[in-house]
Amino acid sequence: MSKTTTGFTNKLEIPTPREKLHHPMDRYLRTERFPHIWCATCGIGTILTAFISGLEKSGLEQEKVAVVSGIGCSGRAAGYLRLDSFHTTHGRAIPFATGLSLGNPELKVVVISGDGDLVAIGGNHLIHAARRNIDLTIICINNFNYAMTGGQAGPTTPIEANASTAPYGCYEFPFNLPFLAESSGAVYVARWTALHIRRLAKSITEALLKPGFSFIEVICPCSTLYARRNRLGTGLDLMKFYHDNALIKHGADTREIDIRYQDQIVVGKFVDKDKPTFLQKRDKFLREKLGEKFIPYKGPQPI
């Protein structure tokens, strides 16, 4: 290995093989960055596994899929995936992904990020991307708080739940995310928990193959902050809670599935409908208006 003038080695270190065992998902992972930062018994890693397994089943080529994340514990997901992946600024995963998707319509662009990132600071982008039916798949990891910054209350924190900015319990009305997504225009809406791993993977496959704006909320244990502050035990205790309290109800009316503190969680696929995507609608509309004069954008062309 040669030293450069700046003193840095100019060749990447070969990552140490993980005890010479190769996990079958390694080809989708930046294993050189492992172990990941997520706490013991955090569920985000399990959701990443479901994503990889859903992606594999979709049959999409690895080169045709891009993953974008914002900031937060959940926002670390993109950085661990051996795909074109982007770690953007807080709340701006969807605008970044929108540009990527419109600039290269051949790509399937996925956003994996947290409840705070997507619904608080990024909430405006979420509803407008859904309204315009941009071809994106959103996986919103909902752990009911801003975990990375110390467990502050956010737009999904249930009433009564304790958070570092709600020491006597949260008293704000939370968002019901599937209802928000559906009423904003999403064509595919589902909710699962980190325990419903196979069903989540199946939903991810369906969402990836669905043209237009798909939204999957995944309820996820945050052991270090949400569970600890609320004395709910470890991530495993929360998985057991999901086991006992989740009710699968496909096609449920999204108006009726808001989440209350430590109460029943309705999960399932709620919306799956067809609607022209932003680009389909635009091309059809402008062709009608402009006739021959309209030349649709065909994505990046070889020079």
Partner: protein, 103 residues
């Protein structure tokens, strides 16, 4: 399911079987795999891995049915299962309500 006697066609029945691999030092001891393995193949170790976590031990290797649940529920990518030759159910296990060949 329990049987009152060993089914006569037992030698024709084949059950999928998996070969479990654990990347011990990548485990953070969450216990998800142990809790949700449908065949109770795994149990947490009493000793610690390099990072100070308990990790799963394989205690009933022969009962693994290669369902992959441990693999997809693990948040650390620390356990996986490869296909092994299918096995005939073990008559004694079948009578006890369990399932797979001793081996």
């Amino acid at each position: 399911m329990t049987y009152w006697r060993v089914p006569l066609d037992l030698d024709q029945v084949e059950i999928p079987h998996g070969n479990i691999q654990i990347i011990v030092n990548q485990c953070k001891g969450c216990g998800f795999c142990v809790e949700y393995c449908p065949k109770s193949v795994l149990a947490m170790s009493t000793d610690f891995n390099r990072k100070g976590y308990h990790y799963p031990n394989i205690v009933k290797r022969n009962l693994c049915v290669n369902c992959n649940l441990c693999e997809i529920i693990c948040p650390e990518f620390a356990i996986f299962v490869t296909d092994d030759k299918p096995r005939h159910p073990d008559p004694e296990e079948v009578l006890k309500g369990g399932g797979n060949h001793e081996g």
